[in-house]
Amino acid sequence: MRSFFRNALVRYVARRIAWASVVLVLISFFAFLVIQLPPGDFLDSYVEELSRSGMGVDSATLVALRHAYGLDRPMIVQYWEWVSRFARGDMGVSFLYAKKVNVIIAERLPWTLALTFASMLFTYALAIPIGIYTARRQYSAADFAASFIAFIGMATPGFLLALVLMWFFYVCFGVTMGGLQSPQFIGQPLSWAKVGNLLMHLPVPLVVIGIGGIANLTRTMRATLLDELGKPYVTTARAKGLPESVLIRRYPVRVALNPIISSGGWLLAELFSGDTVAGIVLGLPTIGPVMYRALLAEDMFLAASCVMVMSILTVLGFLISDIVLAYFDPRIRLG
């Protein structure tokens, strides 16, 4: 029996991993499309940049450059060049930052991961308890308040919330909440003061990034738990004298957690969206703002790498949430 269980789970995981790699290939097509979509190739914008600063490029050099970068070869060859280099960790050079793209990504990836992970924890830590509380006290004042805030949260665009929060802190406390740390701490070695400063800056980004997910998950949790609470098994358990808190925790909450777990991948995609928006407005050291600047400047290698990295992370997130769900819910892995 045990080996069967293992087998089913392993087979399920293998299937998911195979599919995730197909998705990654599709996403790489999409990212390559991002490079190709703007009219002209990146050399055109580079030349434009150069001529703006007064340096001309003659056409012979241009042809040579075009050949050197392989821009005169068929699309599919170019794609293969790009994707195989990407896989080896060579993502090209960003003319916007005049740095290698992988250096830029490596600088910002840890911040992105840390912030996304923190906002995921924050989302769950708020959404699940509030969902349970409001379902148990349906139509109470707290329930209405939570629903109201959730609706407002879903209706407010992230950039607006970021602006309003920044404005609020600026007017009330006279502090600028941009970034993740005050300027004097940037580049300083890790110290308690620095950690404290970091923690002080954390709430605004967390709220901005998480608000959409929190609102959504709270409502999902509340709705599923309400459905479960009306089922006969709950009445039976109550009739047998099980204390209410134990009953809730042990049975209906476990069932209601299923959709929450399965939305993990979706939540991650949502958080990357929030992270991009919050990152741009609040000036966070994450990948989103870099992608934004790169898109505006048509620095396509950088932009495509950012899209690629964020998509890979999302696909990984979907994979992990699928596996976790399969582990918790036998119907999935046997289905």
Partner: protein, 368 residues
């Protein structure tokens, strides 16, 4: 509620039609009921925006960043009807700061039905009539002005046209894509279904805002406003059809096996006959609910994209484009009226969400 209860439980011959049940259930959802009227008002506003706006959206004036004009009813203690005072600009000789000086001796009455900036109503009827306005040497800026001295109230009103229709057109594209793809998936099943489901998973894997931004940035700067507008709606719909197609598919799969469908098939009805006559009415209400929920997301998407300069661009006027002026703290704290479009976004999206909630309840009137 009790009315509904009576209708569904009473044993007498009074049985209400499904639509009547839905209507009753819908009107018992008070927020949704208020929302539908609010949204109706919003769309009416959009329809007559140029008429209601005292100025054209691009009409500049020397009054840059003027605060909202105060409307008075009394002049020297006498009721004279709505009027404003003429304002002059004076610059401080020391700081070079521009000050707006209200001249309380020169009132300018607000006139009704005046001829002002010409516009094309509905895009083709030439018109110059405005609901209200003041004489040329006075300024009436109910919501202040922007950096070029353009009237924010007029711009906010006219922006509703673009922002509210982006949602509708985007939802129409979503509807077509979702029904076709989801319908094929649910109806044919097998390989087609498998492929479509994988496609849906793939699209769900893409982080929304980065994907929108990447596509939005790819729109050439040379395109006309109209072309950009439609491209943006397509970009927004590219992500949102997945939800609808899933719904259509699961509904089709579920209903294919229902007794009455099997009966229709046995009775010799054609495939298309069954789909159009029996299946479609069966889940039309679900489709409407899903589409209603999509509209606010589209509006938020357009606003976000335009705010970041990757969506609609000036001279198009939309809520997102208007909010570009409020991108930094200095602008917001000095000229708070630039934030007004944000309030409209929030109110409108809230109303759509409540409406969706009410419709979802109404779509299933038998559920208590």
């Amino acid at each position: 509620m009790s009315e509904l209860h009576a209708a569904t439980t009473a044993d007498d011959d009074v049985s209400w039609s499904q639509w009547k049940l839905m209507r009753v259930k819908f009107s018992s959802h008070k927020l949704a009921f208020v929302s539908i009227w609010l949204l109706g008002a919003f769309y009416l506003l959009a329809l007559f925006a140029q008429f209601l706006a005292p100025y054209g959206p691009w009409q500049p004036s020397p009054y840059a960043y003027a605060p909202p004009t105060r409307v008075h009813l009394f002049f020297h203690g006498k009721l004279v009807g709505p009027m404003v005072y003429r304002t002059t600009i004076e610059s401080d000789p020391q700081t070079f700061e521009r000050n707006f000086v209200v001249d309380e001796s020169r009132p300018a009455p607000i006139h009704w039905f005046v001829h002002g900036a010409p516009y094309q109503w509905l895009g083709f009827i030439p018109c110059s009539l405005h609901l209200f306005g003041v004489e040329k040497d006075a300024q009436l800026n109910l919501m202040g002005t922007d950096i070029l001295g353009r009237d924010c109230f007029s711009r906010d009103l006219i922006a509703t046209q673009i922002s509210l229709t982006v949602g509708l057109i985007g939802v129409f594209i979503t509807f077509v894509l979702g029904c076709l793809i989801g319908g094929a998936s649910g109806y044919y099943g097998g390989v087609v279904d498998n492929l479509v489901q994988r496609l849906v998973e793939f699209v769900t894997c893409l982080p929304t805002v980065p994907m929108w931004m990447a596509l939005g940035a790819a729109i050439p700067a040379s395109w006309s406003n109209l072309k950009v507008y439609f491209t943006i709606t397509v970009i927004l719909a590219l992500r949102s059809w997945t939800g609808l197609s899933r719904q259509v598919r699961s509904k089709l799969l579920e209903m294919r096996e229902e007794d009455y469908i099997v009966a229709a098939r046995v009775a010799g009805a054609t495939d298309w006959g069954i789909i159009l006559r029996h299946l479609l009415p069966g889940f039309a209400s679900y489709l409407i609910v899903n589409l209603t929920v999509e509209i606010p997301r589209m509006i938020l998407g357009e606003t976000t994209l335009s705010f970041f300069g990757l969506g609609l661009r000036p001279p198009t006027v939309s809520w997102g484009v208007l909010l570009q002026d409020a991108q930094n703290l200095a602008a917001i704290s000095t000229y708070p009226w630039l934030m007004f479009p944000a309030c409209m976004v929030v109110v409108c999206v809230l109303a759509f969400n409540f409406l969706g909630d009410g419709l979802r309840d109404a779509a299933d009137p038998y559920k208590e």
